[in-house]
Symmetry: C2
Subunit: 397 residues, 2 copies
């Protein structure tokens, strides 16, 4: 059937993520794929989860399998808030929390609560394609602010806020950003917060990778410096526990509680109770910190090994970030390079990555940058893949 | 913080569900609550789920705990489609399926894909408050069509479609409707489909209770009669397996596949993989039909017992539906009765129900109807609660 007269305006412009097409290619086991963005499965605490499932279904199956509260499972909410107070120094007074079905849903609910069609969202340029697409499904106007080595360019951010009164939201991933691996410096964090306060817009601080620091000094979250309620904080269990269980959390000023709760209720009633109980038991009875520490060591090794291979095999006209955590490296080729064309050539040689245009507010303009992921890769595949990429770059650039 | 200048127009008008307030009251264990709408926990196949969890986490933990496809876990999709072909006679050629995080999300995605702000949605009057609220979060205009004993009044439906060119969607629960317990007759089903085709609007057929028939003759789903692709079918595991695992499915014409997939992706990436694997294993290795049969017998007894108590204790000026399945009875008091006031009085006497206005397009107008639920009630509590309600009705009416 032809639905063209029936599709909503907001969905007309949104295409299936370009990354998905690349994932299809990259699913070929012969391809060495640096295109992914998933945690290493060996970091999932499988044995603990198995024990907890048996326990929960023995002692509390009715609760686990029944409807739950839209705001989330109370013991999990409390455990997360306690963790945020102690680990991230977030003052949770006058704050509320909702457990959501993954970070993307946190972004979706924030967009639903704040955005009319045509309202503006500032994002880092480049930024996480998934959330950019979420904003697009609200017919929001995206304003990309270029990234310096220490995060968003504050002068351009202020200029953007000053000139566009339709802006309601700044979307930022300040720590080990996807796709760039960049960590916003303290001055940029403070600057973003001051500008949000000055122009009365909300900051959505998306922090899925923050706990995966393997070098350098920890920086405070923007939320921990927020005394006015302008920051909505989005944390996730996907990179430090399990992505398949779809668990994340929004922490926000109580002034948003009613609308956030109604939005969650109208979107999917509540988050999977069984998953919430598994995470809650895990936080209370097992040692998540030592599990995260193992993941950090794993990613530190893979990142450093990939960087050392790049240092060896990449031509010197190519530059790249040296992340202090997270799972991504961002590569910058000489201006004018079309990394989309480069990717198609790389796939012929059995290596995949994501060209930079996928992460831009204008996905149709070619980009001279691309994203590499190392989180699930053996040394052997890193070496082989980076060598092939290095040859390709040397040949083409 | 005061967010009043920042909240989206679509969320301004949506209030926390009135039912939630009633649920808070009803959570008092001293209250006999007929206000619920949840399945009986004794119908959850706990032992099977426990076995499956152990198996899945032993043999396939990486898959269970990792990211999955936006469209859903392939073996579950196939098992559901096969079941829909054999049990519901749905022709799945040219149809696609997406596994969603509960029926409410199926409604949310359908709304996202189809509705601009101000577009119209026809619903039964009364209808399921949860999905009405979903449509409200899209700033849709709701057109309630009154229910006869055999479903929507087709003449009023046609009049409504003819006079309102903004209508894109008809939302119906044709079988054991929530809240009325009414089952739409074959002629109404065919009539709705013909009108949807004539006016080129989509029918969202929400069928969470269809498998819970305990008397009367099975009727075909509207989807099984759909040869043009106008019907989006929404099925659920919540009432026949477990609501806490948040599993439902949308079946729709392939013309909607791309937009439905992108909507799911932008909303929460994908449905909980572990839950999907549990349901998939259950469908393949256990006997869901005998489990559903047990639920049917349980609800048949509770429904018949509640009706027999109502026959004994309710005054004759009160009428009510006699459902052939599902979990709700709809009570109609003489016109002019305010069942909201009645409910407040009932709660003082330790009995709760949901006043009818909660299910109307205009929730602020008093209703002379109310909803009773029997699915989780012991005979003893049914008898005691209905006797108290009968006394109250006799006194007040």
């Amino acid at each position: 059937m032809d639905f063209s007269n029936l599709i909503s305006d907001k969905m007309l412009g949104v295409k299936a993520s370009a990354i998905r097409e690349i994932f299809k290619v990259a699913a070929d086991p012969e391809i060495i794929s640096f295109a992914g963005g998933v945690p290493a499965p060996e970091t999932y605490p499988v044995e603990a989860i198995k024990e907890i499932c048996a326990d929960v279904l023995t002692s509390d199956s009715n609760k686990a399998l029944s409807y739950g509260l839209s705001e989330g499972y109370i013991p999990l909410k409390e455990a997360v808030l306690e963790r945020m107070r102690t680990k991230e120094n977030i003052n949770t007074e006058n704050q509320d929390i909702i457990i959501v079905s993954g970070s993307q849903q946190g972004c979706d609910l924030t967009a639903k609560v704040l955005l009319n069609e045509g309202d503006g969202v500032v994002c880092e340029e480049p930024s996480f394609i998934g959330c950019l697409n979420t904003f697009r499904t609200y017919n929001a106007k995206l304003y990309g602010v270029p990234m310096n080595d220490d995060g968003m360019d504050l002068a351009i951010l202020e200029e953007t806020l000053k000139n566009n009164k339709n802006i309601k939201l700044i979307y930022t991933i300040p720590t080990f950003q996807n796709p760039s691996g960049i960590t916003s410096g303290l001055a940029v964090r403070k600057g973003m917060l001051e500008l949000a306060q000055k122009y009365n817009v909300v900051i959505l601080e998306d922090n899925p990778y923050g706990e995966l620091r393997f070098s350098g000094e920890k920086l405070p979250t923007i939320k921990s410096m927020d005394t006015t309620g302008h920051v909505v904080y989005l944390g996730s269990f996907s990179k430090v526990f399990s992505p398949g269980l779809r668990l994340a959390y929004l922490i926000f000023d109580k002034g948003l509680t009613e609308k956030m709760t109604v939005a969650k209720q109208a979107t999917d009633v509540h988050t999977n109770v069984f998953s919430q109980m598994i995470a809650s038991e895990y936080l209370q009875k097992y040692d998540i910190d030592s599990s995260i520490e193992k993941a950090r060591q794993l990613y530190k090794h893979r990142c450093e090994y990939m960087l050392s291979c790049m240092d060896t095999y990449f031509p010197k006209i190519v530059s790249y970030t040296r992340p202090e955590g997270g799972i991504f490296i961002w590569v910058t080729c000489p201006k004018g390079t079309d990394t989309g064309a480069l990717m198609r050539e790389a796939v012929k040689r059995k290596v995949a990555f994501v060209p930079g245009n996928a992460f831009m507010t204008d996905v149709d303009a070619p980009s001279h940058c691309f994203r590499l992921n190392y989180s699930t890769m053996s040394d052997e595949r890193i070496l082989k893949g980076i060598r092939i990429l290095g040859e390709l770059l040397t040949e083409k650039l």
